[in-house]
Amino acid sequence: MSRCPKLEAILAAKHRLENGAPEEQAKLRAELEELLKNVVTGSRSSGLTVRQLEDSLRDVYREFVRVKRREEREKLSRIR
């Protein structure tokens, strides 16, 4: 099993965006796109776009959300 802090930072930014308040959407979207742009710029993958990179995250983001929701449920059950 491995960790990737750069990828996790992007997934966390995506999660903040999708769960963020309406009045924070522009700011949160800009934060996510900045992280994606930095990765695309530093990548050796020629022709990769920010949009393609975001699309490619679907399955890992799904796993990230599953773990996050499970941990939130566990935290809630400990409080109750």
Binding site: S2, N19, Q25, L48, L57, D59, R62
Partner: protein, 144 residues
């Protein structure tokens, strides 16, 4: 015929009502924008529940695509009604046109991610190449 399961049923019903109100011009732009964002929240909850936490059925994917398309269309319509000149200002709910635009763009990302042409293998290949990790070996969460 597609089965309309509980989370999608509620979201579809609310989005449909909002669309009708929007077309009829029944409420102020600010109210319509607030309602749209509430629908978006419900949609995201159903998405997380049915598509992320569980293995989505063909019906889940079909309803996701259908409701997503309606939300996108309504969002685009609200953007048209919200004059571009107002881009920097915020309404009574502290929402700016740029916030709405960003949220509509996010739906575009959901559209291509869930209903686009990229295959699971292509997604993995990009992650391998860009992040130098094996997607199936990734571990998330505090216990990792």
């Amino acid at each position: 015929m597609m089965t309309l399961t509980p989370p999608w049923q509620a979201v579809a019903s609310i989005v449909e009502h909002n669309t009708r109100d929007l077309i009829a011009g029944r409420f102020t732009l600010g109210s319509e924008v607030a309602s749209w964002f509430k629908s978006l929240t419900l949609f995201r909850e159903a998405e997380a529940d049915r598509l992320m936490e569980n293995e989505p059925t063909p019906d889940d994917l079909a309803w996701h695509r259908a409701i997503l398309a309606t939300l996108q269309a309504d969002g685009e319509r609200l953007l048209l009604e919200w004059a571009e000149a107002d881009d920097g200002s915020r309404n009574a709910d502290r929402i700016s046109r740029a916030d709405l635009e960003a949220a509509v763009r996010g739906l575009g990302s959901a559209q291509t991610a869930w209903h686009g042409e990229m295959t699971a293998e292509q997604r993995k290949a990009i992650i391998r190449e860009v992040f130098q990790v094996e997607p199936d070996d990734l571990k998330f969460g505090s216990a990792a």
